[in-house]
Symmetry: C2
């Protein structure tokens, strides 16, 4: 018996589900390290430190794009949500909602990417669930991951801890993920294809908070809604004004080109391998230097500052010396970017 | 501005997403207890005991059925998965995948049910995520919940701890959930409508393991694949034969009627508020009496026993004294039951 595409019975919880799990979803399990069949994973004692807990669902379309795929996103996204609260990601859950008719080869490729990215991040997938919906009630594959991490420093960085005088740092080029997905979706023929930046940032961000401790006030991964939304989240949670220097923000020319072509503001375009860092001004230069030595931070730059304000505001200081208010995005300009 | 149905912008991560969260998904949040906007929840120290971690996605169709709805299922299902490993459920995550066009009133009703069931179970929803897919790429509402619980006893009950000589106990009537959903889906006109048993069992099962400790060897909620699959899971994990006494299994006549009408074996029909208990034979009578005093265990009964075997087997001792092998279900007979 062989199977090449998914049927509803694969989600029925019987032996077809078991076989799918064994052969496709968790194929790499070594004999003698069979995952417990119990309904919950029992975790080793994580003595020391509080825990962080987060969840994210991934519905990106298409499933594969230059530089990544839904599986890489699903691991990196949740790992990054833990890392930005100063936590070391330890355990992930994996919930798959699959559409009848999905090619098994496609699912295999997604699962391989999930496991490879989990290895890269050093997290363990300890529990999972698989459901199948009828053709036309899904879109190939939706993934939910939830994650548990151990908080490394107290107080942990928080969106609410930005203070007037703090520095704003961005760890790299803006808009790569959103531009890569949009270009693939619109079938743009590009001379130099843009690749998504999707990546787990936990090693870099964990090392950062361990090195600089309480000087790191806030961390944020600028995903849906891009840098504009990330800054609004910080501005609101801390009731401050955030000033970004347009000249200091880095955007690849080809990403800017895609944004211009499609009419998007790169500040609102999603990133999946970048972080915004708010830290004490005195530490800013050392933080930038530290980030530039990290795999995912070579293009880190000081990008602005936090200013006192009685209401949350985000302002862009333009290259020609003007100022413009950056509006809070209403919603992703293109849906299903992550 | 008012809104009556869901648009793609509600999933874009901008201010429309925020408003949806505030007004519909987490409406009951009291001033001064605003949930942190950070990307992960920070959990209070759960000192003492290991943690259990689980996840489940819910895709039941229809969203509402007699006795329950997808929101109640989503909380009860994950709570029960924690309870069957002997853990006290503490925290849930909530991941929503919504379809464009979903009526806001429907979403409100689902979310109210989620919060009411979480209150009933005594668990806290501490983190969440909302995505929206285009019309025709979902089916109203899919829900993922992940849960964290504290393990109450060591060693925790496990599917692998059933031993020859143990007693098999079922906490109540079989097949209520599956029959209720199927009857609603097939629009069967019934004199006495069947209601789903969907319920959080954590209070009953937590009290059980605290009362009987290591005498409780295995617990299992017989959901997809019903009692047949639950017994196969235990038989395989423990390499034992499970003997069920047909005369001791309880089924409502109207549930049996629906199964007969639609051609289903009630042993394979899903339950969402029942548990299978494997315990030391010496404790069996006391366990049944204990369960019968619990809200969700009034019809608990001794339903069989564990027998030595060199291969996993599930056997039904029929009313007329015969024996039949109970096959492992291939997959749910009707998809999308939970």
């Amino acid at each position: 018996m062989s199977f090449t595409s998914l049927t509803l019975a694969h989600g029925g919880g019987g032996f077809r589900t078991e076989r799918l799990l064994r052969e496709v979803i968790f194929p790499g399990v070594r004999p003698g390290r069979k995952p417990a069949m119990d309904d919950s994973a029992i975790l080793p004692d994580t003595a020391g430190g509080r825990l962080a807990f987060t969840t994210d669902s991934f519905i990106v379309s298409p499933l594969f794009f230059p530089g990544g795929d839904i599986g890489r996103l699903a691991v990196a996204g949740t790992v990054n949500d833990l890392a930005v609260v100063g936590a070391k990601p330890l355990y992930l859950s994996l919930g798959l909602i699959l559409e009848e008719g999905l090619a098994i080869e496609t699912l295999k490729a997604v699962c391989e990417s999930i496991h490879a990215t989990a290895d890269e991040a050093g997290v363990e997938i300890v529990t999972g669930d698989t459901k199948v919906v009828e053709r036309g009630k899904g879109d190939g594959c939706y993934i939910n991951t939830a994650g548990i991490g151990r908080v490394l420093i107290e107080p942990p960085p928080s969106l609410s801890r930005a203070r007037p005088g703090d520095a704003l740092i961005v760890t790299g080029m803006l808009g790569d993920h959103g531009a890569a997905v949009m270009a693939r979706r619109e079938s743009l023929a590009l001379d130099s294809p843009v690749r998504s930046d999707a990546a787990p940032l936990n090693r870099m961000l964990n090392a950062l908070v361990e090195q600089f401790g309480p000087a790191i006030h806030a961390l944020k991964d600028p995903t849906r809604g891009g840098l504009a939304m990330a800054c609004h989240d910080i501005a609101e949670a801390s009731t401050v004004q955030i000033e970004m220097d347009e000249a200091a923000l880095r955007v690849r020319p080809e990403v800017q080109g895609i944004c211009d072509l499609l009419g998007f503001d790169v500040l609102e375009v999603a990133n999946e391998g970048k972080a915004v860092v708010v830290c004490e001004a005195a530490a800013a230069r050392a933080v930038v230097e530290f980030l530039r030595r990290c795999d995912h931070g070579h293009q880190a730059s000081l990008a602005g500052r936090i200013v006192e304000s009685d209401q949350p505001l985000v302002v862009l200081k333009t290259r020609i010396g003007g100022e413009r208010l950056v509006a809070k995005p209403a919603g992703e300009i293109l849906p299903r970017i992550c």
